[in-house]
């Protein structure tokens, strides 16, 4: 009988130890992730107000550098825990999300033809012209695919999407972070 009781006690203790170990393992994994370097977006960086930045850069220094936003829109996030913070700038919208307690740039949207990508792609441009400009990027890690008028360029965690209408005119340009949905 004592053996059985001892076994039950050992089982209970092992269960609790397992729970504790799992918690510590999760903490360790989180710490290890924190130590990883920031993702590299390669040629899919962006320049605004002479400040270079890109997807998954820490948002605070970027926003300090590019200046104060005109306004802010907050909505529940589809891709991340918490909210999307969308800051309105002249010609630009910057989406920021908090990931593990740190705010990152997760989206850059060009809203008019006054702003262009570092490659020179802008809203209103002919898509063929834009594709020629993008083709000048010499980097094998950059991939491109097209789906019903949306041209998606991916480099690491960064995704640049260029949308063209039936006439081949670019109607929207957005940088986003690659999510599981993508």
């Amino acid at each position: 009988m004592k053996k059985i009781l001892a076994l039950v006690t050992v089982f209970a203790l092992l269960t609790l130890c397992f729970c504790a170990a799992a918690a510590f393992a999760a903490d360790d994994a989180a710490a290890a992730e924190d130590e990883e370097e920031a993702p590299v977006y390669g040629p899919l960086g962006f320049v605004y107000n002479e400040v270079s930045f890109g997807i998954l850069d820490e948002a605070e220094p970027v926003m300090e550098a590019i200046g104060e936003a005109d306004d802010l829109f907050v909505s529940a996030s589809c891709a991340y825990q918490g909210d999307d913070y969308i800051y309105y700038y002249d010609g630009l919208e910057l989406t920021v999300n908090e990931i593990d307690g740190v705010s990152y740039v997760t989206g850059i949207t060009l809203v008019d033809d006054m702003i262009e990508t570092p490659q020179g792609v802008a809203i209103g441009m002919d898509i063929e012209e834009a594709l020629a400009l993008m083709a000048e990027i010499e980097d094998e890690a950059l991939t491109m695919e097209e789906n019903r008028g949306v041209y998606s360029f991916q480099y690491g965690p960064a995704l640049l999407m260029i949308q063209a209408n039936e006439d081949g005119e670019i109607t929207a340009i957005q940088y986003t972070a690659v999510t599981e949905e993508d």
Binding site: M1, A20, Y88, G107
Partner: protein, 362 residues
């Protein structure tokens, strides 16, 4: 071994196991989030089981139902009994299983499904899964919902034994965990999560580019299952797109839903083009700049929908039924008290603090 010896051997073992199970259950209850402040949405699923009278209409879907429709208004407008089994980011397979669960308790005449969540065809977030499913009573429906909803890192067993998931919360326990160890305050009235504050819509962000406009196969599969479930139980399914103007509802999605509804003999009502007819004004009728309606917008949408359901679908006016009316008068009183309390808070603080329908209400 004699019977006495067997009892002597096994009784202590059984007692140990019972004690162990009780400890695991108790600690699970203690460490499980209570959702009584801050994020109230996690407390919504369980509230359904406290309903006393049946409903003619059951809403299923995400925040676009539990924020944008008020069952109390539908009662006051046309004597329609309704309940919103909505949860935050409720995915379509969760809607299906929550509806299946509801059919175990009652036989609604109309089921209303809000199609916004069909943008998601894969499990999204454990946090939202937990808010939708932890409150479900143990049943085949719950097991199905868990299986369909789990993200890669989740274990089904932790939905049945919460301690396995929440044990690490022991460091974060607050007074709320002890106060609500064995009880919960209500956070909704018939599934409606009230917000009486106003944040006008000023400027919406640019519409995100849709990389793939096709609604996923899993969504169509579950929509078919919802329709079949309704048919099996003699309920009529109505698809709606609620009044929220953000996140953006794409024309491509609208075309696919409309085509599906036409092909499968379903009614589909898109409230977006009806805003003027309903009277919704996004400078006064939203609490978060266009994402959700506030109380004033929800009451307008609900009054409109109630009239439509009464006129076009012939739903019965239950205000003459004393038992049902008594239950709804109680709900109306809770609703009015909640509104008064929210208005008082808005006057005092300028914003809504987190609180529930319980005795701790300020």
């Amino acid at each position: 071994m004699t019977t006495k010896q067997k009892i002597k051997t096994w009784l202590p073992l059984c007692l140990c196991l019972v004690l162990l199970a009780a400890a695991v259950w108790f600690l699970g209850r203690l460490t499980q989030p209570k959702y009584m402040s801050g994020v109230l949405e996690g407390a919504m699923t369980a509230e359904y089981y406290e309903e006393k009278t049946p409903h003619d209409v059951i809403f299923i879907g995400d925040c676009e139902v539990y924020e944008n429709f008020s069952p109390v208004t539908m009662w006051r407008e046309a004597g329609i009994t309704s309940y919103i089994r909505g949860t935050a980011q409720q995915l379509i397979w969760q809607s299906y299983y929550l509806l299946e669960d509801a059919f175990r308790y009652e036989s609604p005449k109309i089921v209303v499904y809000n199609v916004q969540a069909m943008k998601y065809s894969e499990p999204q977030s454990e946090a939202y899964n937990r808010m939708a499913l932890d409150g479900m009573r143990l049943s085949v429906s719950k097991l199905g919902a868990v299986r369909a909803s789990m993200t890669e890192d989740e274990d089904a067993i932790s939905y049945l034994i919460p301690l396995l998931r929440y044990h690490s919360r022991w460091q974060e326990l607050t007074q709320e965990d002890w106060t609500y160890l064995f009880r919960r305050d209500k956070v909704t009235v018939a599934g409606y999560l009230m917000r009486a504050d106003v944040k006008p819509m000023k400027r919406l962000p640019s519409v995100p580019i849709l990389k793939d406009p096709d609604i996923g196969e899993a969504c169509w599969e579950y929509l078919g299952k919802i329709q079949a479930l309704c048919e099996k139980h003699g309920a009529r399914l109505i698809l709606i797109k609620s009044s929220s103007i953000w996140p953006h509802w794409y024309d491509e999605w609208e075309e696919q839903i409309s085509a599906y509804a036409a092909e499968h003999g379903l009614d589909y009502i898109n409230f977006l083009p009806l805003q003027d007819e309903i009277g919704i004004d996004f400078t006064t009728d939203t609490y978060d700049a266009g994402l959700h309606l506030n109380l004033y917008g929800a009451e307008k949408a609900s009054a409109y929908f109630a009239r439509l359901l009464a006129d076009a679908y012939g739903l019965e006016d239950h205000r003459g039924d004393s038992a049902i009316a008594a239950d709804w008068e109680e709900k109306c009183a809770q609703y009015d008290a909640l509104l008064d309390a929210q208005l008082r808070e808005l006057e005092e603080y300028g914003y809504l603090k987190s609180w529930t329908l319980g005795n701790d209400r300020p």
